[in-house]
Amino acid sequence: MVNRDIYKGRQFIILFFFGIVAIIYVIRLFFLQVIDDKWKSAAENNAIRRIVNAAPRGVIYDRNGAILVDNEMSYDLMVVPFNVKDLDTIELSFILGIDTADLMARLRKAKAYSSYVPSVLVKQLTPQMNAYILERSHKYKGFYVYPRTVRKYHTSGAAHSLGYIAEVNYNDMEKDNYYALGDYIGKSGIERYYETDLRGTKGVRYVLVDNFRRDKGSYKNGELDIDAVPGKSLWCSIDKELQEYGEKLMKGKRGSIVAIEPSSGEILALVSSPSYDPSLLIGSDRGKNYMKLQNDSVNKPLFNRALMAQYPPGSTFKLVNALVFQQAHIVNNSTLYSCSMGYAYGNRKLGCHGHASPLDIIGSVQNSCNAWYCRGLVSMLENRKYYKTTEDAYNHWYKMVTQLGFGQKFNSDLPYELTGFIPSAEFYNKHYGQGRWKATTINSISIGQGEINATPIQLANLVSTIANRGYYYPPHIVKAIGHKDSLNTSFNQKKQSGIESKYFEPVILGMERAVTGGTARRAAVPGYRVGAKTGTAQNPPYADHSLLVCFAPLENPKIAISVIVENGGFGATWAAPIASLMMEKYLTDTITRPDLEASIANRSIYYVK
């Protein structure tokens, strides 16, 4: 018999060992559960998915409330491979218009990605496909249709102004952490400038997911969820009909039409030709179409000529000089300059065409006399009563010209405008040497040739300023944000031109006479008093550009226009009738001269470049 009571003490060793283990475990649990926070966030990352709902993008209306761009539901066919049962692949491939092998390949790809997480099987179903599948949804277990919104254009025009949206790239996401992969962002035009207004606010939904990331219902009954806020609507200053009409007239020609409402600076039409249908840049073919447009190096449809093309303004620039010379007290209503088929200086001569001589300001505008402006510029730059040197005089001239909006951007909501070019005194100093140039050296600038370049919108703004007799509002393209009657206040600050109002009257009178009995007769609009100035910008070795700036009605201007038809020859030939039709369309909403319209719209200019 063994007495094991001698081992009784061993119970305490055993109990001690068990107890130590228990204490170690409790300490470990204390660290795991109470001290260390990382497990809590890991748990949330595990089980809570943040699902972002895109906000519908703001609608863009024209100035009269017609929809230019809105959203359309687009349906993607989604598949959860795990739930697919008894699939009739032949019928489904028939509905989707793809062959069965392609369908099977897509299904395999989806399954390879995940059996439980939905994958996109087919993007952007047609409405018929959608209807077919919804009708037969009981047959297609594991499939469902996921709605998303895409842009829908209600106009084939205004592509450059409206711009387009595209999926964000890495840089966009870097710059603004609002964006996540797959989001859309305005890439140009209004879509870009007003991105923050149009995009709205994304909604967030928190859902619980399991280890296969299957949706298991909302987290905390959705109390943390945020509804998406739709983007704000925009009322564009564009007149849809006028815009489309302008594009129709410009068909087959290169150039642009810019129409501005002088009293507000609102752009009524911004035509750049050739253009493209904005609908090309939505949907699944966006990338392909964009490359096609970008690679069209002959027509350059993506190039917005209205804002970016820089032309010598030609005779339209005489309006500027007529104003500047008056303001500088170089000429007045009684100043007469003679012209003998041009202006001779040294052994050179700047030619002119036949007209009465001598001319006052009014006559010089009406007849577009080159000599008059050469003499005016010489009188100003070589005037030693007002200015110590030619350079001083030139600086004064330069200051007044730039104050009219030339040589700089308006920096409004127009994307990618260029500045044009007004040479500074330093420019000439560099080129000719300080003190080595005088009025006659640079006198081609008096008639808008030489170094001077202007963009179509700058010319339109010039006529707008003239129509307003002294001031302008920066041209802009969005009237109202959020509410139709709200004013887009960013651009309603009046800019003074620095030219006194009284100096405009003779210029305007000259412009009117140019229409009634001068170079711009073809710009006339029946029943309205119109002021216009033609321009013919030399473009050696190619044909001249045809320019016209105009506004109407004279007494109460409603529209100011600049038209440029590249290689169109004389301003009167192409630009004047186009401007006339545009004004008539806008002012009367009817066209009384359908023959003229047809002859303009249907004729193309053959471009060799």
Partner: protein
């Protein structure tokens, strides 16, 4: 003589079973409809049958299990053989015996039978664990089920039987076994973190110091040298044994435990998710039914081997500590009753089941909190599953019944 069942043991049992049911319910209950065709539905059936089983046991004569022990042991040993030959395989281990739609795991019951038979053997007045003659049959009794369970490819289930060494220790087994085991584990852990030659150098230093201290007592010298040779052999062969004997997944689990593998997706997924679930519970837990990690299947085997995660996530530190305290009280109470018993069989049996319970609790909870390698064995009374609940109920209530007439308190 008046029968007195130990109320405390019964209360601890009921608490643990109730916590187990709540945990299973929490992870598998779907709002709105109750069904028996779910995990909690089955668990309810198993709890009910277990309680019936417990009541049935309590009406037996308290010599019954002493008599039945060899027969039960033989029966379940045969069952283990049957499983090895005809069992069904589930998740890599061939440990299930299918009877109709039901499957049982004989290994769980074999542990019960082993405890009974071992206790009977130990309570034999001629059994002296310091004698080889007595020790060998004991090792055979424990060795047979271990061998058969290993043949089922279910290393985890065999492991708790090794913990019976605590019971043997109480009944007179030389403490050297425990000391050697502890030394082997310590050396192993050292070898995981340190290069072999550093460990060897440390051992050389230790023995040199001991030789120096014992330089005058010649009788120890031979022993010390033999121990030194054994330890050296261990140091240089453990690597080999480790690589040859353990399966790749077992090695990975051990390496994961010691932080040799840093992985949260593949082999480390289970443990990482278990820690996330428990760690996210915080002090008070997320509340019943609010555990996202366990409810949403992030934790694998969440109602069986990893059920402690649900307790940790929903009950927080309070819940986990409570469960550990209940287990400590339960095991402590068993040992206390065993010590007070006049009956050697009751005492030995008490120590046997206390060892088994301790093994299961320590390994299971240790695994979920990253203190033990992943070994798939159930948490007694709490884990989902019929076999384990029945087997643990049998173990505990056999003890409750056997000890009823003892003058404890």
């Amino acid at each position: 003589m008046k029968s007195r069942f130990d109320k405390r043991l019964i209360v601890y049992y009921l608490i643990l079973v109730f916590i187990g049911f709540l945990s299973v319910l929490s992870t598998s209950y779907k709002q709105g409809h109750f069904s028996f065709q779910t995990s909690y539905g089955y668990q309810l059936i198993w709890i009910a049958t277990s309680i019936i089983l417990a009541i049935v046991i309590c009406v037996f004569n308290n010599r019954f299990f002493w008599h039945a022990a060899p027969w039960l042991y033989t029966f379940f040993t045969i069952m283990l053989v049957v499983v090895v030959l005809f069992g069904t395989e589930r998740s890599g281990a061939k440990s299930w015996l299918g009877i109709g739609n039901f499957g049982i795991q004989p290994a769980e019951f074999a542990k019960y039978a082993t405890c009974l038979f071992l206790a009977r053997r130990l309570s034999d007045m001629h059994c002296d664990l310091s004698k080889k003659k007595s020790l060998i049959p004991i090792l055979v009794i424990i060795g047979i089920p271990i061998g058969l369970i290993l043949l089922q490819n279910d290393t985890g289930s065999a492991l708790p039987l090794l913990f019976l060494v605590f019971a043997l220790f109480r009944e007179g087994l030389t403490p050297w076994i425990l000391i050697i085991a502890v030394c082997a584990v310590v050396l192993f852990v050292l070898l995981v973190y340190l290069p072999q030659w550093i460990v060897f150098a440390l051992v050389v230093l230790l023995f040199a110091w001991m030789m120096f201290r014992l330089r005058k007592r010649k009788k120890y010298h031979l022993g010390l040298i033999i121990v030194f040779i054994i330890v050296t052999t261990y140091i240089f062969t453990v690597d080999l044994v480790y690589n040859q004997v353990l399966k790749p997944h077992q090695k990975q689990r051990i390496e994961l435990l010691f932080g040799k593998i840093n992985d949260t997706k593949g082999i480390g997924y289970n443990v990482n998710q278990a820690k996330i679930a428990i760690g996210s519970g915080g002090f008070f837990g997320k509340g019943f039914g609010n555990g996202t990690q366990t409810k949403l299947n992030f934790v694998p085997e969440q109602v069986t081997d990893f059920i402690f995660c649900t307790i940790g996530e929903e009950g927080g530190f309070v819940g986990t500590t409570f469960v550990i305290v209940i287990f400590v009280l339960l095991i402590g109470r068993i040992i206390s009753i065993a010590e007070k018993s006049q009956n050697a069989f009751v005492r030995s049996y008490g120590y046997c089941i206390a060892s088994i319970f301790f093994a299961h609790v320590a390994i299971n909870i240790g695994m979920t909190i990253g203190l033990m390698p992943v070994i798939g064995i159930p948490l007694p009374f709490i884990s989902y599953g019929g076999s384990s609940l029945w087997a643990f109920t049998l173990m505990l209530f056999t003890f409750v019944m056997e000890s009823r007439n003892d003058n404890w308190d």
